[in-house]
């Protein structure tokens, strides 16, 4: 009789991951975790390299023959150009302070999502080709050759970083891992390795002024649509203007707010506010996008797209620029705009025409965030608010990464929230303000094909929302970023299904008491206002 096999010999099911060194563990392009390649026509539109049809799943990525030389030369140029990059390559001591701060690492456990190791992907090539120790000792000195597999690893992980900069808050040396990701992506772009969720919005923005590629008449008609909805809710007719020369202020919202809910409700709130205070502003069909996906492509592309806002401000002869509720837009404005396209000496330092407040911090960029503007109005009692209209909501606030960490907009949104609603609850300290967790879909990762990855990356944020839902009954997550408004609803639906997402100015619009308005029975979502029916009956 044959010997009976032991149970573990019957079927080989090993649930343990391979124990290979990170340098020897290849990338697995599992559907749901990676992003579609940039469309050739979009690359052609903005003159990006190597336009072709390809997919990350393909064995052959159709790279230029001399791709290795292009990348290494590109890295050499950038090391010479950006002192910060050379510092970031050299000074990391791998202390591990950043390791467990990345939402993708926390949610996935994938070591290459640790900021330190993600940076090592680039740093190892830097060591091998740009340091004496690496040239002599190779792998012993932490260096490795740039191969196609390394390149695929770069693509996978540099498009798996949302550039949220949470890790940099904890780095004792101040290494900004987002800057390393940006350089990584910039190098990949030199040989045509980019993602469609970034490149097509870039091409649209370059040609038509906004990510969605809406032409001027479409933009105006869409705004009319929102104006009609505002009239239905408030009986007040407002008339925003486009491309009006001589207006005091150029107002630039993110285009997502024009078309995609729940951003539309927030834009309605802002339009209502501007109407109520009689602001002399104009929108533009040329600079119709606050967001700048150039930031996720290359420094050159940031500059090209951002220049449109300044050019339009000059053409229209406005005094200063007011930006909408956008996230990464503010990193561009605050940290790059003035260097790249400034000085904007044809503009004035922003001054609120209602309160006389001079926004000194924007003396250089001449551009402020609508949240600062509204908080100042409330502080000076320039608007009447009825926070009871938001009584059906128990609200918490998600600090969007860039406004919080890149600009420091921490107090203003909270000040507004406390004035427009009566039930506001903070998430735990370690998950808000400078330490806020990313939505998991920033920096061009907000596509649908990588939903699984987004759900992983968004877990730390959702986990904190779940805490305030269970503790306080929170049912609304407010934010001030258009990408958040696109990515947080599916995230909430997966992890905390009874919490909805809104723009901060949606709550402002609900609470705003407008001159000549009819009694409100509906909120901006056309939902009955709490208590409105009872009052009517009475």
């Amino acid at each position: 009789m044959a010997k009976l096999p032991k149970p573990e010999e019957l079927i080989q099911v090993d649930h343990r991951p391979p124990k290979s060194d990170w340098m020897d563990t290849p990338v697995n392009f599992k559907p749901g975790t990676w992003l579609y390649a940039g469309k050739a026509e979009s690359l052609q539109t903005v003159g990006l390299a190597n336009p072709r049809k390809w997919s990350p799943e393909d064995e052959d990525w159709k790279l230029p023959e001399n791709w290795r030389e292009i990348i290494l030369e590109g890295l050499r140029e950038r090391l010479d150009k950006y002192r910060s990059l050379r510092l970031f390559m050299d000074i990391c001591v791998r202390c591990g302070a950043c390791a467990d701060k990345c939402h993708f690492y926390i949610g996935s456990g994938d070591p290459k999502n640790m900021p330190v190791l993600r940076a090592e992907l680039l740093r190892s090539v830097y060591r091998r080709d740009f340091t004496t120790a690496g040239k002599l000792l190779g792998r012993l000195a932490g260096g490795r050759d740039l191969t196609v597999d390394v390149l695929k690893e770069w693509f996978y992980y540099f498009y798996q970083c949302t550039e949220c900069r949470r890790c940099s808050v904890f780095c004792p040396y101040g290494i900004d891992t987002a800057e390393i990701t940006m350089i990584g992506r910039e190098l990949l772009n030199l040989i045509g390795l980019n993602i469609d969720w970034v490149v097509t919005p870039v091409a649209n923005c370059y040609m038509k002024g906004n990510h969605l590629g809406i032409q001027p008449h479409g933009l105006v008609d869409s705004m009319d649509f929102l104006v009609e909805n505002i009239r239905d809710v408030t009986s007040v007719t407002i008339a925003p203007t486009f491309n009006r020369k001589g207006a005091e202020i150029l107002y630039v919202p993110p285009s997502g707010d024009v078309f995609a809910d729940p951003g539309t409700y927030g834009l309605m709130g802002q339009l209502m506010l501007f109407h109520e205070i009689g602001l002399d502003y104009t929108l533009s069909t040329y600079a119709s996008e606050g967001g700048n996906f150039g930031l996720f492509t290359s420094h050159e592309m940031v500059k090209r797209l951002n220049a449109k806002i300044y050019a339009e401000a000059r053409r229209l002869g406005v005094k200063w620029i007011l930006g909408g509720e956008c996230g990464h837009m503010w990193r561009v404005i605050h940290q790059y705009m003035d260097t790249m396209n400034g000085p904007a000496d044809f503009l004035s330092t922003p001054v609120s025409p209602l309160t006389g407040t001079v926004f000194e911090h924007a003396r250089s960029t001449k551009m402020i965030h609508v949240v600062e503007f509204t908080a100042d109005l409330i502080k000076h009692n320039k608007i009447t608010l009825d926070p009871s209209r938001n009584d059906s909501l128990k609200v918490t606030f998600h600090d969007s990464c860039n406004p919080a960490r890149a600009v420091g907009l921490l107090e203003e949104p909270r000040y507004i929230l406390k004035n427009v609603c009566r039930n506001f609850y903070e998430m735990p300290d370690e998950t808000i303000r400078e330490k806020t967790f990313c939505c998991g879909g920033g920096a061009g990762l907000g596509a649908d094909e990588n939903m699984e990855m987004r759900m992983r990356g968004g877990l730390p944020r959702a986990n904190a929302v779940e805490y305030v839902r269970d503790r306080h009954g929170v049912n609304m997550l407010a934010c001030i970023c258009a990408i958040d408004r696109a990515t947080l609803p599916p995230l909430m639906h997966y992890w905390v299904p009874d919490v909805e997402v809104c723009s901060l100015h949606e709550l402002v619009g609900n609470a705003l008491v407008m001159t000549g308005e009819a009694p409100r029975t509906m909120n901006l979502r056309f939902e009955p206002l709490a208590g409105a029916e009872g009052e009517q009956d009475a």
């Binding site: 099911v13 343990r16 467990d100 456990g109 994938d110 933009l219 008609d221 869409s222 995609a260 056309f526």
Partner: protein
């Protein structure tokens, strides 16, 4: 598991030791460094995967001891499997922690002082673990379906945005506006249009 007092008392007495071993088994699916982090003592906000896993298996273990109802078991399974359903692992890896518990209990009970008495009660525990495995299949699959519904809703929303752009470009009159508003109502996340 009913009327298996000997085994029940043994499970209660060995709770901490078994849970410690089970927790380590749960984290074997992650790369070594990550397993250490997840098993560590960081707060539930800094380490949600670790804290959800711990909460889940504690509740499941107590369920084995105390006969809790299926809905509570499902909720506890959801806690760990909702995470694993979106992580980079096969379904067999995601559910591997249940046979893991069987293995731990099996090797411990055979070396226990009262091994013979425990052996008599053991079939009831095995039955419970089998049922838990089946329940876990359902929960895991429900999470995956949830994920796919979300993807479908995201696609629908994108189409909805395009639909809104088309009437806008062609001069959006009242009926079209009503249509778009009605579409908003219809297409909410997780509700298949």
């Amino acid at each position: 598991m009913e009327n298996q007092e000997c085994l029940r008392e043994w499970l209660k007495a060995n709770r901490d030791a078994v849970l410690k071993e089970w927790l380590a088994c749960c984290f074997e699916v992650y790369p070594a460094g990550a397993a250490g982090f997840m098993q560590g003592s960081a707060s539930s906000f800094a380490n949600p995967v670790g804290s959800r896993t711990r909460k889940s298996i504690e509740a499941l273990y107590d369920g084995l001891v105390q006969n809790i109802d299926t809905a509570k078991l499902q909720a506890s399974l959801d806690l760990i499997l909702r995470v694993r359903a979106v992580q980079d692992m096969k379904p067999s890896q995601a559910l591997g922690f249940i046979p893991g518990l069987r293995h731990i209990l099996q090797s411990r009970r055979t070396t226990a002082k009262n091994a013979a008495a425990l052996g008599q009660d053991w079939p009831a525990a095995e039955l419970w673990l089998d049922q838990l495995t089946l329940l876990a299949f359902d929960v895991y699959q429900a999470c995956r379906e949830n994920l796919h519904q979300i993807q479908l809703a995201a696609l629908t929303k994108r189409c909805q945005t395009i639909e809104r752009m088309i009437p806008a470009a062609s001069g959006g009159d009242e009926p079209e506006r009503d249509m778009v508003n009605a579409e908003r109502e219809r297409c909410k996340y997780g509700e298949t249009p």
